[in-house]
């Protein structure tokens, strides 16, 4: 119980710090990959505090409420996860959070966010099957949906769930909002969607979306960690290293691919879910 509280409090305090730092290193790394010097590592924090200083502009008053709910439920998702609760509960709370963001975008009544929101729905459709397969895989492997039980199991899940791991890394590209699948919130200027989902959000509201994104990233890396945790120090270290490698691998992918259309995103991620994910589940089942 005490351990659970410590983990949740650590998540609440450290996740934005780690998430922001990762985002900063990500930007420097991207710049270096493009032959540029890049911003300071702390740049995402400067951006965040700047956004807090800006004049608040809202198109529709209710949008701030929805975005606050989005942030809240992303945090709650992470808390559930780090408290070691049910994996399915975690996944569906995250879905709830995403739905709040989509409603916020629709509530602005503006063309670009609505287009972005529609694409976000398609993205959800693309990654949800693989996320569920991951949860099912963990259940078959460890006999429990509870994160606490999975972490404390004495076998490392990774060797048994390589296919699921690969599939999960694949859909992480969508969740991290990286090219080739950054369909709903293109983070590069001069694209057909302006800023997609977040076009109408500025100042504090945008800052909330940023920090929610950092919370979400850390939580998703926690998922990666789950594949390696086996209760030993070695497992913990391997897990942490693989989390970092995965994150920067996504940066690398981001810089090497042009954006694809939504149907490619759906086809590819369903294909991955059916082949890598399903086959791995069947193998696990007979093991």
């Amino acid at each position: 119980m005490v351990k659970m509280i410590i983990l949740v409090v650590a998540y609440l305090i450290l996740a934005p710090v780690i998430g922001g730092l990762l985002a900063g290193i990500d930007r420097v790394l991207s710049a270096r990959l493009q032959g540029r010097q890049g911003p300071p590592v702390l740049q995402p924090f400067y951006d965040f505090f700047k956004l807090l200083e800006k004049e608040p502009i809202t198109v529709n008053n209710v949008q701030d409420f929805y975005v606050t709910c989005f942030l809240l439920f992303v945090i709650v998702t992470g808390c559930f996860f780090f408290a070691g609760l049910d994996l399915l509960l975690v996944i569906f709370t995250l879905t709830l959070a995403s739905v709040f963001l989509i409603i916020a975008a629709f509530s602005t009544n503006s063309a670009y966010p609505q287009l972005g929101a529609e694409r976000e729905l398609l993205q959800m459709m693309a990654y949800e099957p693989m996320v569920l397969i991951t949860a099912v895989g963990f259940y078959i492997f460890s006999g429990s949906f509870a994160v606490a039980d999975i972490v404390s199991g004495d076998k490392m899940a990774f060797p048994y769930m390589i296919g699921i791991f690969a599939g999960f890394v694949f859909i992480l590209t969508i969740k991290f909002r990286k090219s080739p699948f950054d369909l709903s919130m293109s983070h590069h200027a001069h694209q057909e969607l302006v800023a997609g989902l977040k076009t109408e959000f500025s100042g504090k509201t945008l800052a909330m979306i940023e920090i929610a994104h950092w919370y979400e990233n850390v939580f998703l890396l926690g998922f990666i960690f789950l594949f390696f945790a086996n209760g030993t120090i070695a497992g913990t270290i391997i897990g942490a290293v693989v989390c970092l490698v995965t994150y920067f691998f996504e940066t690398f992918i981001d810089n090497n691919f042009a954006r694809m259309k939504w149907n490619v995103a759906i086809n590819a991620s369903w294909l991955v879910a059916i082949t890598l994910g399903m086959v791995n589940i069947v193998v696990l089942y007979f093991m």
Partner: protein, 155 residues
């Protein structure tokens, strides 16, 4: 210290011009000049922008566009007019539909002369703009007077 000077996001609009200055602005984003070193991002979305870079002069057709972009930007915001066209109309000044520089439509904080303005001059102009941005931010808290706009600084 205000964070607004550490993370200035820009939006760029090109009015009636030969596109020379337009290309010089984009050159600032390339590895050679890399303005992201200063935290500058080219957003393409007025609602996320702090600095409005205008190249080219204003005419009857794009007057409303320039105004609208300016109005959609949240305070504190700064306008940098780049190139002689944006400063006072330049070679297009005598055209029947051209109104002149950007300051005929919206208040301009920094003028960057040149035809075309060199990337170094543009970056210098933006950095000058940061000073104005910080003043405007302080004025928002009601501690100081708002800085005067048009005719303020020459980069």
């Amino acid at each position: 210290m205000s964070y607004v000077t550490k993370s200035p996001w820009v939006i760029h609009y090109d009015g009636s011009s030969c596109n020379g200055c337009d290309i010089e602005v984009l050159a600032c984003l390339t590895p050679m000049y890399d303005v992201e070193r200063f935290g500058i991002i080219n957003t393409g979305n007025p609602k996320h922008a702090d600095i409005f870079l205008v190249t080219g002069s204003v005419n009857e057709q794009n007057k409303s566009v320039v105004k609208q972009i300016y109005e959609q930007m949240p305070e504190p915001k700064v306008v940098v007019a780049i190139g002689i066209c944006a400063n006072n109309g330049g070679i297009f000044r005598e055209c029947y539909n051209v109104m002149g520089g950007v300051d005929t439509v919206i208040p301009v904080d920094v003028y960057v002369p040149g035809c075309a303005a060199r990337p170094e001059a543009i970056i210098d102009g933006v950095v000058k703009g940061l000073g104005v941005l910080a003043e405007k931010r302080a004025a928002m808290d009601g501690k100081t007077e708002a800085p005067q706009t048009a005719g303020k600084e020459e980069a």
